[in-house]
Amino acid sequence: MQLAVFAMCAVVAVASGVAVFRVDSMARATYALALSFVAVGVAMLLLGLAYLGVVTILMMVMEMAIMAVFMIMFMMNPAGLMPMSMLHNKRGAQAISLGVFLVLAAGALLVPWPQHRAPRPADPTRAVGEAIMESKMLVMVGVGAVLFATIVAALVLAAGRSRYDGNVTRPSSEAR
């Protein structure tokens, strides 16, 4: 049963990932990407990662909802009313990605991966929570600092009339 669910999730994740670059509508591409993330989240639930699986699904669905808004803002064909192809070097990209897939899949199937001997934790969510609050706290402190820096940097870059907005007349140039 688990294998069947995993196979279904894998097919949905890859097929919707491919659909991202094949559909004519930007909005549909965003929803296809969201579907791929949901399938990956379900696959993580199969591994007993209840917290991370649910976090992946919730975060990525919200992220794709925001992304859909940006798609409609920036793209010329959000609704897919006309055929859309915006590719360069398609053959080269296909060859490189196929080669990377073959190398990675061969590594996954041929390398003798070590088998675990220690028992699995009864509650993986509790285990990751304790790690965050104890031995791995520095990692999460670093992640928090990165997220704060991202908020500041994104606002400085994206806000109108800021340091990087090319349309604004600088006070110093007016003075000259």
Binding site: V55, M67, V100, P121, E130, T150, A154
Partner: protein, 97 residues
Amino acid sequence: MFLVLAAALFAVGLFGALSQQSVVMVMMGLELMLNGVIVAGAAFWYFVAPARADGQLLVLVVITAMTVEMAMGFAVVTLLFRARDADMTDMAAELKE
């Protein structure tokens, strides 16, 4: 099989990141690549070292990286669009010249 799924997702994302002209679509390719890394991290935790929480933490860090990538990507796209009226990678190729 989880690693093969991860490899497939990574390869599909790589194709998008290399072939798409739209900056936003390139970002979607990068997200798909990180999606593959998430699957691989979760599988390594489950099959190789479930007694330690390192694999789960790696997944958390990758999810954070995806969020940061999207936020910064959209900030740069907004800046490009406002300053140059450009939303394609080929329209912002000054560093190549």
